[in-house]
Symmetry: C2
Subunit: 314 residues, 2 copies
């Protein structure tokens, strides 16, 4: 028998899951709609059916554990706590899955799952202190210190997206002001584009952007063809990101910041201005010592590998 | 024989050291001048002489280890790295003391030593995630996460004093702007008093203060007798401190912030406005869950107990 772990990455729209072997190879992978407005059992039933069919055909495979990454997933309690964009309230997904699959189940939040995946399979294999940053609709972060995930007192640590970089800055959905994710994320860049459109009404490229649907690839292409106003979007974003990362570095002193998610595809277009600002705002004894790099995990597999990584000793 | 650990707390002006037994009782304590402009061996020779005399008289006592807390003390390398206000450069104090005393020696920075002492002997005995803040000339911090000190990649983590709370704020000695310690420390309050003196030139209490020698007790007494401008100093300081602690909480989610050092003697006069600001700037899911309290260690013993705590299994 070959032992496998099921990694489940629950997102607001879709849930991706896959069976992972010891070497990090995904032997089976599926993506289904989360249907967050339906009861969670609906999702779990559909998922169980898919896994059962696959394991029936492949009788040499044995499921020994399940790792779940989900927004607001609490590592200590096994409860997904009132996740945004879903009507689930508090759901003890660990006990539900344990009952359904009769194996070891563990939960963490999606950002910590990304950090665990990077540690086990990605660019942080030899690092004990690093931070993964997921750039999507918002900005998520997972933190390793001293070789373990930093969970904090109640498993809610590591919310770099809600580090305020300006006490009087942009209003955040969380009720605070100046949160980093209001500058560095799809939502943040949308706001920046709106501001730039007001400031430079005659700019052709800026006028061509629909702030209600920011497509990172459009900005990337414009940067590559030398459009100054497109570069300025990433310079502004990188300046804010670099300042925020420098503040977190004064507390955590990591070896690297590692970037994931849709907007991290901008790559060096965003990371170069980020590094310049980061070094400028960093304490002098830390300068030149902290890397800012992209994830080493294949896009689309990071969520599964991260969730699967929660299962220890595998 | 009764086993003892020597705790040494090296400060810019004075060095305090003491022999500590297993229960945290200090059986012998001394304070000598550091003489930071002399070679470090001068300090170590004077210290060794005192300890030798004491141990000779008390032949039932056995020195089994030495813990040192010092500014810029590097836990990993055993080197005090170019400490401020001393002309030592880089000093490998661990190897020097090991040679001198022929026992197990460990080093950490003074702020981490405070955190270790609070964990072993103070109010953090049952906490795994907490931050100690030392308010003196500057603002130092020691961080526990998951039951261990957060050292970061190269032992320089936990510099909450250099978290910038305002990108365009007060110039800090470190070359950055808006560092928390430029608002919350003796140096910070000095600047605040100067600003307030300019803003309210007719205020009798403010005029009576000498900004070059800020005495916390004078401000405390004025607050206790109802002087509004004295209260305003702590309200302003607490507002800045509360904002900074809220930012660190979004990353660390500690159970408590624990205050030490000269200016922490202000106690509730400073901590009450700090709590109000802290709760205001905190993510809503953390509100009401993080304590802001004073150290449980006796003033004057914290440094020795903290340094002694570095020696494990004692």
């Amino acid at each position: 028998m070959k032992n496998l772990v099921l990694g489940i990455d629950i997102g607001g729209t879709n849930t991706v899951f896959g069976l992972v072997d010891k070497s990090g190879h995904i032997v089976y992978k599926e993506e289904i709609s989360t249907f967050g407005q339906e009861p969670v059992i609906n999702l779990l039933n559909r998922l169980k059916e898919k896994i059962d069919v696959f394991l029936k055909i492949n009788s040499d495979l044995d499921l020994i554990g399940i790792g779940v990454g989900a927004p607001n997933g609490n590592y200590y309690t096994g409860v997904i706590q009132d996740p945004p964009n879903m009507s689930w309230g508090d759901v003890n997904i660990v006990s539900m899955l344990t009952e359904k699959f009769a194996c070891h189940v563990k939960l963490t939040n999606d950002a910590n799952a990304a950090a665990l995946g990077e540690k086990k399979y990605g660019r942080a294999k030899n690092m004990n202190d690093f931070v993964t940053i997921t750039l999507g609709t918002g900005l998520g972060s997972g933190i390793f210190t001293g070789g373990v995930v930093l969970y904090g007192h109640d498993s809610t640590a590591g919310e770099l997206g809600h580090l305020s970089i300006d006490q009087n800055g942009r209003d955040c959905n969380c009720g605070l002001k100046g949160c980093l994710e209001m500058y560095v994320s799809a939502n943040g860049i949308k706001q920046t584009v709106l501001n730039f459109q007001n400031k430079y009404p005659d700019d052709l490229f800026l006028s061509s952007l629909d702030p209600n649907y920011i497509d990172g690839k459009l900005i990337d292409m414009a940067v590559d063809s030398g459009t100054e106003s497109a570069k300025r979007i990433y310079e502004y974003t990188g300046e804010k990101l670099g300042f925020g990362l420098a503040q977190a570095a004064s507390i955590l002193c990591p070896e690297a910041y590692i970037f994931y998610g849709g907007f991290s595809q901008a790559g060096e277009r965003l990371l170069r201005p980020t590094r310049i600002a980061f070094e400028k705002y960093l304490m002098h004894n830390l300068r030149g010592n902290i890397e800012i790099i992209q994830s080493g995990l294949p896009q689309g597999q990071a969520g599964i590998l991260g969730a699967a990584s929660i299962i220890d000793n595998f």
